[in-house]
Each structure stands twice: as C-alpha cells, then as structure tokens.
Point group: D2
Chain length 372, copies 4
C-alpha cells in the first residue's frame, strides 16, 4: 500500500478489478454552493464492495474510492444547507447521507414506472463515481456531498458506530421486509445470517413478526443467536423444512426472505413458505448463476408471491435510522455495534475486504480517521 | 358409448384415467331442504377436464361426472332458497353457481392465511365428487346443488350461451388480472390465446389496459385477432421481445400473464416484463415439468413480482358475471359466444374432449339437453 | 342481587336497559356434537357492556348473559372437536374463542363486499343471544360453545389473566392499527387511554411505530405512562397540536387513532394528522351525537384518509393472541395484567360495571368461579 | 379589455382578485438551455380559475397569466430536450406538459411522506407564477416551459382539442378513481356532472365500474346522459338514496366520488355508500364552509373509508393521456370534444370565465391563437 506524502485528505482507491486498494492523498475540495464537506468517522465494507473488487458489478468507472455508506462530522458547507427534515446543517454536526443521488425525477422510470432505483441518471457514492471526480466515496478521510445529496442528522441516541453497524444492510432490510408485507404475527424465515440477513431479522422483529434465521456458518449462526433470534442450524441438517416445522409445531413461514446470494437457496427457500405466502429475493446482488424451478408446484399451485428487491430509496434509509433509535433494537437486547462489527483503520482496508470476502467477520467497519 | 335405458336423467361418467366417457341414467334426486335441482342448459369442457381424463390431477375420486361450470333452469327447490344477492330462487329461473363449495370457514387456511382456495374441506363440482354421490357434475341432464352452494341468477342481458362461453376461464381471468394489479394505462401481454388467455385479455381490457396476446397457433391467434386484440405472432418469430418492442416503440410490459401451461413460457415471459413490473402465472394447473431461472437477472435486479394464481373465490365469479353483462365485451365488439364456442350435444362429449385436447376448437360447450 | 339456589351453573343476567344485573342458576347444558362446554376462568367488562346496560346498542335480545370475551378450561366436548389450528380440544385444556360466529359465508356481505362484520346472520356471544337460548355469554360459571365457534388454545406463555387483560380491546386494536396501515417508523397518536387506546398503543408499538397517547383523565394517563408510552397530557392543556409538535420537534402524526367515543375528538384528532396521513375511527361504537367537519380543510386539501373500523374477524383475534405471547409486550416491560386490570368475583358484577362506567378502573375482569 | 400594440406574444393577465382579465403583449422569451417555447393551441378555463379570479385560492402571486393546462406546437427549444419517454422534442411537434413542476425531491414531503403534491417548493403553471416572471400560464399565445417541466407528445390519435376537452379534469379524475380503488364490477356514483365529475365517470367506466352520475342541473345531466351514463336526476327528487336503490335493485354504491364542492354533498354522498365502501372527496378545492357528520353512523359503524384527493402527479397525467387514446372513450361513443366543449378566442376570456362561473357551459376552451 503506497501512501503519498502531501497534506490533503487520504482516500483508498481501487484502480480496477482484482487490484489491491491503495491510499492516495487528494486535494482538499473546494466546497461549492449547496455542498457539504464531511470529516469521515466511519464507513463500511459490504458484500457489494467485494463484488466490485472482483469485477462482478457492471458499469463501475474504475478507478473509484469505494465505500457507499458513511457517517461523519461536518467540516464545511457551501452556504446554507438543510437536511431532509429542514434542519440547518452546521459545522460540527454529525450527519449521514443516502449514497444514491442524481435520480432525474423526470424520466419514465422515475415518473411513470415509479422505479427510481432504475433511473438511468442515478449515481451512487462509492460505486458509480470515478475517483477522478473527487472524494465521492466513503473510504476516505473526507467526503464531498454534492448539492443534491439527501443529508440527515443522526438522532441523539444513535451513535455513529451503531449507525455504521447497521450500515447499508439496514435500509436494504427495510426494503425487503416492506416488499414482503411482513406484519404482526407473521412467521418469517430469513435465509442467511450475514449483515443483510441479520438486519432483515431485526426489521421483521420490529414489524411484529416471529423471526427464524437459517444459515450453515457457525460464526454467523452464533451472531444470530447472540442477537436473540431463533435459528435453523443448517450445519447439522440440510433439511430446513423439517427444522422449521419442528420449531413451529408443523407450520411453515408466511414470509421467507432470501439473503444468501446463492442460487440453490431459491428452491429450498420456496419450500419453507406456506401456501399463499411470500418469498422475497434480496441477496442476489450479483449474478451467481441459474437454478431450477417448477412453475406448477413452486408458483401456481402454491399461490406464491415472489418479490425481487433492488436498491433502496430515501424512505428506507429514513426508516432504518428511525429504527436504530429504538431502545431495545435486538430480541436479546445485545447492541448490534457490540455483536456485529469489527473495526479497521483506513490503512487496513485490504484486510477488511479479505476478511469480509472470507466471511471471517460479520461486518467490517472502516475508521477513516483513526488518528482522531 | 353405452347408454342405459331407464327414465332418470342422463349423465356422462368418467370411470378412470384414460377411459372414455360413457353415458348413464341416474335416479332423479330427492331434493332436500336448501337444495336446488337444475335442468342443465350448458356445461363446458376446459383444460382441467382434459387433465382429469389423462389422470394428471391429484385426488380425483373416479368415477366422476365431469363439468364444473354449468348453467340451467331451476327444476325444483327444497323449500325457500335464496341467491347470494338474497333474491328467491324459483322454479324456471335461469341460474348458475360457483363450482367450489364446502370450504369450512374455520380452519387455518380459511381464517388465518385467508387462502380458502387451500382449505382441505373444499369441494368442487365435476372434480372432487364421485358420481356415486349423485348428480354433482355439469355433464349431465340434471345437477343437484347442495345447500351450501352459492347460486346466482344470470343478469337479463347475459344469455346462457354467453355465460358458458366465458365459463370457468372468466373468473380465473378475473383472479389473474387482480393478482397482477392491472390498472388504467398498463401494457399487458398475455401468453397464450386459449380460453383463459382470451378471457384474461378481455378482463385486462376492461381494467383499462392495452392488451397484446402472444401465441404461435394460427387458430388461436385468429381468435385473438377476431376479438380485437393486438397479437404477438410467435408462429413467424420466436423473439417475443422484439415483437413487443416493435409494437410499443421500445417499451416492455407492465404486466405479463402466463396462460400456456408450458414451462418454457416462464423465462420468455419474464423477459417481456419491464423493470419493477409483474409476472402472473395462471396457466400451470398441472405439473408440466421444471424450468430454469436466474435469480439475479430475472428477479432481484429486475425488482420483479411473480404471482401464482390458484383457484377462484366467489368474488371472482361474481365479477366475471358482472363483466359479461357489459354491452361491448370485446375490443372488436364481436360476441364471445360467436367467436369462441363450438357446441356439442351430451352424447358427443368424447369428441368435445378430444377436440379441446388437440386444440381444434377454442372452447367446447356441452348442450346437456339437446332435445330441448 | 338475587341468587337462586339450585345446583346448576350460575350466570349473570341483564333483563333490560337500565336494570341491575342479577345472578341465576341455569341447568347444566347437554353438550351436542361439535360443541364444547367451558368452565369459565375469566370474562371482562368492556365499554360495550356499559352501552348494552344503558340500552344504547340496537338489537340486543334482552334478557341476555353479557360478557363477550372469556377464557376457561374445557369441561366437556361433544365428540372430537378441533381448534382452528387443527389441534384436538380435550377436557382440561385452557382455551378461548372468538365471540363472533354464525356468519353465513354465502351472502352479499360475506362473499361480494368481503365485510363479514356486516353479515346479517352474524351472532356475538354476550351480545346477540338471549339468555333463553342458554349459557351463551361470558359472565357465567359455564359457557356453551356452539359447533361453529372458532376455538383456540392459549399459547404456553400467555396466562389466562394476561389474555383477559387484553380482552376484546386487543383484537379491536389490531384491526384499528391494520386499518391505519401503521408501519415501521410511523408517528402514531392514540386519542384516549382506555383499554382500546392502550391496546392500540401496544399494537402500534409492535408494528414499529413511535406512539404517543393523549387523554385528560389522570388515572388513564398514569396507566399509559406506566406501560411506557409518551403521553400528551390534555388535563393541563387542551392544545393537543402544540403538545404533539413540542414532543416531535414540529412534526405531526402519520396516523391518529381515535379511541374515545367523543364526537369532539374528531376535529381535534384530524388536526394532529400530517398532510396525506391517516385518521382511524374505532371508539365510536355507539351514537354519541354529531360533529362538524370542513371538507376542504379537513379532508380534501389535507389529502386525508379517514377509516372507520367496525368489529373484528378471526384474523385479528389470532394476531392479538400471538402478540400477547411476546416477551416484552409493553414499552416499559410492565405486564398489562399487572398495570391494567382490577378483578371482581361474579357476584360483584354490578360494581364492576359501575366502576367501568365511572372510569374508576381501566379494565374490570370478572372471575367467574371465584371459589376455585 | 386593453390590448397593447407591440409585436410580442399576447397574454391574458389577471391583476388581482375581482379584476377583469386584460390582454398584454410580452417580449418574446429568450429560450435557455433545456427550455421549450410553445406556440399555444388550446388552453382551458377550469373551476380553479374561477376561484383564483374570486380570490378564493391562497398564495396566488397576482398579477398572473392564468391557464394551467395547455397544448401547443414547439416553436423553439434550448438545445436538445427530451420528453418523459425519452423522445426528442423538435420544432413543430405537438406537445403538452404537466403544470406542476419544481417539486424539490429532497424534502420531508417528497422523500418521507411521499406526498409531492404537498412539497413547499412546488410550482404550478398558471397558478403560482407571477406574470412578471414571464409567459408561465396557458392563456397566452406562447408559453415558456422551464427546464424541469415534464413534457410529452400527444399520441397520434389524441387531437389537441380532445386533449383539452379532458384538460385538468382528466388527471384529477384518474387520481380520484385511484384513491377510491375503483375496480371491475364496482358500482360507482359520481356526485356532480361538471368536468371533473364527467371525467371521473369516464375513468371509472374504463376501470370496469358501472357508473351513475348525480346532479340537479339540467345542462349537466344532459351532458352526462349524452356521454352514455346512467343518471340520478336530483332536479326531480332530492332523495338520491331511493333513486340509487331503484336503479340498482336495492344496492348501494361500492364507491361514491364527490365532485361538487358543496359541503352539503358530504352527508348525502356518504348515505349512498354501502357498508365497508369508500367515499372520495375531490371537489372541495376551495373552502365552501363546514358540514355535520355523525362519527358513529357515518364512519365507524359503516366501516367507511373517506379519501381526500389533492393535486395530481405526473403518473395521473400520463394515464389520462393514455386513456384519451382509447377508441371508445365514452359509454355512448360520443366524443368528449363534441359533447363537452365550448371554444372561445383569447380576447373573449372574460366571457369564458363568466360562462364557467355561471355554469352556462360544461367546459370552456381558450383558442390562444385564433387567427391561425
């Protein structure tokens, strides 16, 4: 890892698929009207970052500064800037922002299909900006928020570390649970106890559901257990259906939410859903191949709903932050920032990335200014 | 075909899978309190009847009298009987009935899952009653409606032949269109121009959609065209997507409704749906094998909804009849009873069945008392 | 209060509007096929019972045995009887039942309007059965459950006292919260801290909402506070809107739920709802007069939804029981059976009734067999 | 009416409440990047214009050029400009546009409440732009579309006159019908046969409903009748309920949609809705005073939904235009441009306004360049 020596903010740059991340100094940005410069506190490493490094995500304009979720303190603002709730943003405030911006609000996807996550103008911090455009990613000592970015203060009782422990997984989970129309009294099975799976469990729990989380990784099952969830331990039996029926006295799930990314999870997951239930696919963020399905048995006769879940909108981000402010966030009462996170300084970002890829940690957090 | 000679009503009996249908005289039923005896006018042959004869439907208690949809005149009632709308049912009235009855209203499926089409007590005329139980199927000169059957008069401007031309396909279509949340201005593609496909087109049209129907059979495409639908002619090109984009100046469908029963239709159909659209599976009423799907490309990234559609409830039957009363039922103004039906007397029921199986006709109607 | 002396079960009878309740012995019922005889543990006194005694509810066939919610042990069954979940009901089991039964499942309201709470055949234990028909109300040592009554076991971790502490208010609350489409992150204001209001707060809390409860009664505000809710104290200020905006830094509610029964609550409640929010009316179970509304300001310009909530279905009852099984039911962790209930033996039912009418207690529970 | 003599485009200006409209020449605008200059074909006079002239609408920045809906040919574009569907906008194209623009997409209303019609930044052509800002209203020979305005071409089979005959009433009607969840087989009563009422009837008809329109004005009833609707003639009887029950053999409406603006319509309209039905308020665009409602009888016991309907979004505008392209737009087949419109040249705009105010015409259309 090469670090240059000038005095501007340091940022981690990924020059192309398969390349190691290197640190570089950037010029301190000139903050224009409506923009906000953040002094980064935390960013995160998520599964998408792994896919980006592996070159599995289409349309990434390498070189980039990765990191799409972050939280920091306001260093400077370009004149008067307000948060989404209309509160002034002042130097020193602790704020975060939605990584997605630049949706056009005028195209067919935005206006007619009501699918802004499909807007062709849409940009994402840490994913679809080149590092040549500036400090537009989270793995950096500073981040420049352009004038159309939706910014919000953290509520008093949400610490920056708690926020990043949820990270991008939490709004994704809100979206998935909403797609699944999870409600009071539903039995919900989550496939996969990674960050998205665990957050999905938390969101479903706070929507009134009974939640069971299935995985075969011991590390991940333990995390699920620590957070207070019932688990379906697939390391001892691959018959998820009988594990579920044992736990529920013969019932199946009202909703199953896939958060594994594995094609083989699909048919197995569908078998756990009751007739006329719902199956949500949220883990397949990159192409891991195809699988087999029986249209009669798996869909038509079962009167099943299958619901893909792509991207998040501000509303999901907003609800995620609101949820983090709840006193008892997990069924066990254990804090997610204690149970789920491992913290790395910025210069260990390659280790963080490989630990996530090898599933040695549940959630890697990047402390961008570890000298602070 | 053997016909016995006593004087009771004649009914068609299917003794087992693969057997020909034979006609038998039954004793005229003793009409108990709350029951209604119908003098049958028309019944129909649908795809499910073909599957029943081929032994492809599970749980059929052979021997049975097939025919689940029918219309007739009231011959006798067991005391005062009322229609669903509270109107007295009197000798001579022209009425029809929902084939499904005996749902328990007390079980988990009925009360908790709100999926009465999955109630284990549910019975269906012409499908799940043995002929040993009596005249409980439509291919018969008389039908006995038990005291829990939902009965309704035909509206004045719905002729018995128009009713049966819609037949069971029409409420199935209502259910499929409702599952697909088809609304004003939607582009809807229907895969398959059989009775369910054509009725689905009609229902979607009256829900405010622009409808295109895809098929490769010339007979069926002609029926779709006669009824006034735009067609995607798959006999000349198997590239449904380019046919659709040509017809719509580059758009894809908000909703695609599968009404073919063919596993290969699934992936082809999904490719026609726009991002964040809906795909309804209604044609897979029996197991025709599996197919391949890519969870990332076909579901997650596409933000797709896939919706199975099993059975119908009274509300769909009710709405179907209401729809048949509309003055201009089809886009072309051509009547469905003129464009879709071929009439067979009861003693030609085997021919009707084979004509449906071989797709020589769109819809076979059984005239149960052809001597009338 | 006159008590007769024979040996059959004792029940409380209300002979007409304005009359005191008297106790009478009834013959022990002959249990027919499919019926279940309960040895009553607890029943309750709710606001509707007060209205029934005051003659404010239409269509009550006095004399009646009041009490529509109850829990008890099985004394005897008429052959094999199953719960809704299919579990056999055996002598000694602790069970409860939905008070509503006899909906016909065949009429326009049941089948077309999907409004079974409006079915003309619908009967309610403790409300629409005369005591001449037998032990069909909860204020009785024994209750006879007819063969169409939906019966369910209490889950292991729901004690009979906890069940009755929720009582009829809990499924009503489930219905109200569902009507209001309350979801994760919503700000919900409940008007009225009686049993329905408090239960509504609990259900909304478990649906992911932030809940504030408004009242002016000190007893009721204290109950709300004890259960852990934020309160809007209308005893010190009648300006609910400024209290709310103070608590929320200027926001109004996504959903306001009326649980007071007072006509003046309507306009005040609507003023608390944000633009494009929802206002649920659930407290107006009897006619307390009219009020004034401005269609432009209160409804149209506000883009408001107003949602009446009549009766409950089994699904609401089911979800209520499921919710009671949650470990942490209230925001404070205080048990509702500790915070909300006052227990009266059967022979003090008149006192219970007047204490509820005069709002001296939050919830009066009748211990039907206090000698047990 | 004073007309100045220079050579720029002529526009009608309303200087303040109660003032007559006068015509003025404006300088031909300088078309900036992303803007489009329209040569106006038609604009319209709607009820809101009457309210604006009477000073009944809050926040109007007089002087203004009224006219919020219009259609015209493209005179000039500021560089490459695209329609919402991505089609280039070229000189000579016939286009129209959504009057609402400048919603911020970043505030609480836009992002969290999902109520962009409540965004404080929202601007409306012909309503919330001062004439000092330029040609930003429809009653003008030219209109300047700013670079954030959503523009669309008219479909081939929608003539400019047909478009303006629907005018702003059509998307409003789409919104109202959507709020009312009108679907196949619903009985819908529309209160008021003005432009919004008639368009609501048309949209409900194309959503599969049976539509009855109630009014007491002979002119308006005749328009409703000409378009092919069933009518409830309130000029001969004020008992709308008995008229409805006569027409429907005793049923009431699934949905009633208020399009009168009269407070007394509310209670009368609610009485027409069946139990568990829906009541949509769309006519109360200005404050016409209060009315009385009984929370028990009108809302709670009735299990009613009441739904206010404020403003429109692009999706409603889009669906309205799609609907206008249908071959058979009205039940009778009569064209709306023949049955509903009276055309006035720009210099007769005061007469148009008074004819609308006095209800002498159903819909007044302004032909902005009558010399063309």
């Amino acid at each position: 890892m090469v670090v240059t020596n000038n005095s501007g903010p340091l940022a981690a740059v990924l020059t192309g698929p398969g390349e190691p991340i290197t640190l570089h100094n950037f010029a301190k940005p000139n903050v224009k009207r409506g923009e906000v410069l953040l002094h980064t506190m935390y960013s995160e490493v998520c599964g998408t970052d792994v896919h980006i490094q592996q070159g599995k995500l289409a349309g990434v304009p390498y070189p980039i500064i990765p990191g799409h979720f972050a939280v920091g303190t306001v260093e400077e603002t370009g004149g008067d800037v307000q948060s989404v709730s209309g509160r002034p943003i002042i130097r020193g405030d602790i704020v975060t922002f939605l990584d997605v911006h630049a949706t056009c609000h005028r195209c067919w996807q935005c206006q007619v299909n009501k699918a802004p996550t499909k807007c062709p103008s849409r940009k994402v911090y840490g994913v679809s900006h080149s590092s040549n455009e500036g400090l537009l990613g989270g793995w950096s000592e500073m981040i420049l928020l352009q004038n159309d970015v939706a910014i919000t203060h953290l509520p008093e009782n949400v610490s920056p570390l708690r926020f990043i422990a949820g990270g991008c997984a939490m709004p994704t989970a809100v979206h998935a649970v909403e797609r699944g129309k999870v409600g009071l009294g539903d039995i919900v099975v989550v496939q996969g106890a990674g960050p998205v799976g665990l957050c999905t469990g938390i969101v479903a729990y706070h929507s009134g559901a009974r939640v069971l989380i299935a995985d075969k990784s011991t590390v991940r099952l333990e995390a699920a257990h620590t957070l207070g969830f019932e688990v379906l331990d697939l390391s001892t039996s691959d018959n998820a259906q009988s594990l579920l029926e044992y736990a529920t006295q013969g019932q199946r799930a009202d909703v199953v939410i896939e958060a594994t990314g594995s094609p083989s999870a699909i048919q197995s997951g569908i078998s756990l859903v009751r007739d006329a239930g719902r199956y949500v696919v949220v883990g397949h963020y990159s192409d891991a191949g195809s699988t087999t399905i029986n249209p009669h048995l798996d869909i038509n006769k079962k009167h099943l709903e299958i619901l893909g879940t792509w991207g998040v909108e501000y509303i999901h981000f907003h609800k995620a932050i609101g949820l983090l402010a709840r006193k008892e966030l997990t069924p066990s009462g254990i804090k997610i920032e204690d149970a789920m996170t491992t913290i790395y300084p910025l210069h260990e970002v390659n280790k963080a990335l490989s630990d996530v890829r090898e599933r040695r940690v549940v959630k890697a957090v990047i402390c961008a200014n570890s000298g602070d």
